[in-house]
């Protein structure tokens, strides 16, 4: 007698990479179970509170590594619940990148053109607003005005935010209390559940083993609802197909831990990690100069002093997103909000010896409302490598929630450092012009570099030596395991990656459906968008047919 639970498709993770396949597979008729490591919060549970134990720390994970720390979602809905909802498509040149492997990193089958129908499917499924200047926060407006003052362009960033419901509280990272953010909790996930998918929070997958019939057995532990350092039991589920989407800081760790039972993993599992080339600069504005030089006034006597107000990033400078420029010199500079508590310790106070603590830093904090944070996304070199997995999960948890120590090592190459230096210099050039501000980068000395967009730790590609997945997202050598989260993206995108991760997940679905059908699952491909819209499905149909055939 074998009492192990069985399902057709087991999805690990409920962020973009998990929710999108879960919806399509459930809508197509498969039995789908989604295991999510983090908790499942309702809108009313999203708090405006920095106290440890509030939603802010329950749904976020901050994993410290050697040279790179990663911030990521840890809840049902994953990154979509905690992210700032910027949804640009990646520029065309990104897909032609050669990176450290010195040949095209992306599979031949994928370019901006061939991904466009899949981007469209996402845009039909997640409500994305093309923000107007009336939506742009003071911080975004200030960044735009500074860009124009220095002869540059600036774009309002497309965002998955219902601006009519948004109150500009800037608490997006704690979950949106006002249902303005169009997270996966308002589109793909409820649609998946309506089609019978089961989503189980606080189920942390540890490893995958094989069953005698060619399927997989997924082993999980149940995480304590308040103190994530503790577990309250364990279990396993057998599935014919596994979709792995635990996030780029966790997906390779699960595979590494599974290697002993599953057999050798492709070389690229846990290698080629990219932090999306991210780095932050802080500008401390001179309010008088903002008024005099840029002519900005809020109408209440203040020129700016509005760091606290807004909805994350609203304006980006894309002048360097130019495919004719050499690789590693292309980047975007995006206005961002970064809340206290999660990292502003890394902001450096200006001076002969810039410092992250002490009297000078305290003075800088006293001008916090006049901060403007600029987020750089450069092309990094995929330097990250994961060491042997920890005992459980992807980190040794230190605090009851949020803070843990992982196994990622990231030593930025001279190329990456040069790109950061170039972007730092440009931030300074824009914002220190005419005495507008004092600009300093965040230090990499304390917790290494810092990313909110981990990528590429289990990536797609055509070359088996530098990619863990084929161009249909199937794990090389392990048929029936698909990886669909940020770890599948081959490298840095120079823009926020959620839209590209989602488009790739949409594109991956036909092959997952085909694999399930080969294993006897009665499932069809062809669900409309979660709200029933069908234009995107029609446009992608020819591409989907080819992917279904393999």
């Amino acid at each position: 007698m074998n009492d192990v639970e069985r399902t057709d498709v087991l999805v690990i993770g409920s962020g973009f990479g998990g929710a999108i396949p879960a919806y399509h597979l459930a809508a197509g008729g498969a039995r789908v179970v989604v295991l999510e490591r983090g908790p499942w919060l309702d809108t009313a549970e999203y708090e405006h509170d920095f106290k440890l134990g509030s939603s802010y720390t329950r749904i976020f994970d901050f994993t410290v590594g050697d040279g790179m720390s990663v911030l990521g979602g840890n809840c049902v809905g994953g990154g979509s619940v905690v992210y700032f909802a910027a949804m640009p498509r990646a520029p065309r040149f990104v897909f032609e990148r050669r990176g450290s492997v010195k040949r095209r990193m992306w599979p031949a089958a994928i370019s901006r053109d061939t991904l466009e129908p899949w981007y469209d499917r996402v845009a039909e499924s997640i409500s994305i607003t093309q923000q107007g200047w009336e939506d742009v926060s003071y911080a975004g407006g200030l960044w735009a005005a500074a860009c124009r003052h220095s002869g540059r362009s600036a774009n309002p960033v497309p965002a998955a935010v219902d601006t009519s419901a948004c109150v500009n509280c800037n608490w997006m990272m704690a979950g949106c209390r006002f249902d303005a953010k169009q997270s996966l909790l308002v589109n793909y996930l409820p649609a998946a559940i309506a089609h019978g998918a089961e989503v189980r929070p606080l189920h942390e997958v540890q490893s995958i083993t094989r069953t005698p019939d060619g399927g997989y057995r997924v082993h999980y532990k149940i995480v304590h609802g308040e103190d994530y350092r503790l577990t309250e039991g364990e279990g396993r589920i057998e599935a014919k197909v596994v979709v792995l989407a635990a996030g780029a800081a966790a997906t390779p760790v699960i595979l590494q831990r599974s290697e002993r039972e599953l057999g050798a993993m492709p070389y690229a599992v846990g290698r080629y990690f990219s932090g999306n080339g991210e780095r932050l600069n802080t500008a401390v504005l001179n309010e008088d100069r903002v008024r005099e030089v840029l002519g900005l006034e809020r109408g209440d006597g203040l020129a700016y002093a509005a760091n606290q107000i807004g909805k994350g990033p609203t304006v980006a400078n894309w002048d360097r997103l130019d495919g004719s420029l050499p690789e590693y010199t292309r980047y975007s500079l995006e206005q961002l909000y970064f809340p206290p508590g999660l990292g502003t310790i890394l902001a450096l106070a200006d001076g002969p010896e810039p410092t992250w603590f002490g009297p000078a830093k305290k003075e800088m904090l006293e001008r916090w409302q006049s901060w403007l944070i600029i987020f750089q996304m450069i092309e990094d070199d995929n330097e990250g490598v994961f060491g042997p997995p920890p005992e459980r999960g992807n980190a040794d948890r230190v605090s009851q929630q949020m803070l843990g120590v992982g196994r990622l090592s990231y030593k930025p190459t001279a190329t990456t450092q040069a790109a950061w230096a170039m972007a730092d210099a440009e931030c300074k050039e824009i914002l220190e012009r005419d005495g507008l501000a004092t600009v300093t980068p965040w230090t990499n000395d304390l917790v290494g570099a810092y990313t909110v967009h981990p990528l590429a730790s289990c990536r797609i590609g055509d070359d088996p030596y530098t990619s863990a997945l084929d161009d249909r997202h199937e794990l090389r050598g392990h048929p029936g395991i698909f990886v669909t989260d940020g770890s599948a993206v081959p490298g840095a995108l120079t823009v926020n990656p959620a839209m590209t991760i989602s488009a790739l997940a949409e594109r991956a679905v036909p092959a997952i459906v085909a694999a399930a059908r080969e294993r006897g699952v009665e499932v069809e491909y062809g669900a409309p968008a979660p709200d029933g819209s069908t234009a995107g499905r029609r446009a992608a149909a020819p591409l989907a047919a080819a992917l279904l055939r393999g």
Partner: protein, 186 residues
């Protein structure tokens, strides 16, 4: 007069917190706070309350942290020829600039204990910049030194922030000429 082990621990950790975000001395006998700033710093913000909370994961290690910090401080003092009062924990006995220099050493890339010290100073800092041991609205209402100094506004009566004015409301730059119909770069 020599301190009890508990007093030594508290003074040492307060001195560390005060090094990260400094504040004013609480009285003539205050040795832990170096007094290099006139407004409340991490100690007044409640750093010790945060460090002692088991949710942080450091509360069980504070004795070891304090002992180790004083050992490092003793070594630092000897190395730099600084005479320290033997009745005072070595880190507390150091002048502010030397406390800061030692913190820089312990948290510098390559220091074997770096990760441990970064963890501790992170919570010292968070006590000031986000009052992570208190409900934020309560902390602001009570005049928490960090949140007050940063100018974080009060929430509405239901504890939520809303900003009725958020935008300059006019075009402030020309978009990139290659912007696509979806609002993305080409």
């Amino acid at each position: 007069m020599a301190s009890s082990p508990e007093e030594t621990k508290v003074e040492t950790l307060e001195a560390l917190a005060d090094t990260i975000v400094p504040g004013p001395r609480r009285g003539p006998r205050d040795r832990a706070v170096a007094g290099v700033s006139r407004t409340g710093g991490a100690v007044a913000a409640g750093a010790l309350d945060l460090l002692r909370w088991d949710a942080t994961g450091v509360s069980g290690s504070l004795d070891d942290y304090a002992r180790s910090l004083n050992e490092h401080a003793g070594g630092y003092a000897a190395e730099h020829g600084i005479a320290v009062d033997e009745d005072t924990p070595a880190f507390v006995a150091l002048p502010y600039d030397d406390r800061a220099a030692l913190v820089r050493q312990l948290t510098a890339p390559g220091h074997p204990e770096k990760a441990l010290w970064v963890l501790l100073v992170l919570f010292c800092y968070m006590a000031y910049d986000s009052a992570a041991h208190l409900h934020t609205a309560d902390a602001i209402r009570a005049g928490h030194p960090g949140l007050t100094a940063m100018g974080i506004t009060r929430p509405d009566d239901d504890g939520l922030w809303r900003f009725p004015s958020w935008s300059y409301g006019r075009p402030l730059a020309d978009p990139h000429p290659d912007t696509t119909a979806s609002g993305s770069p080409r």
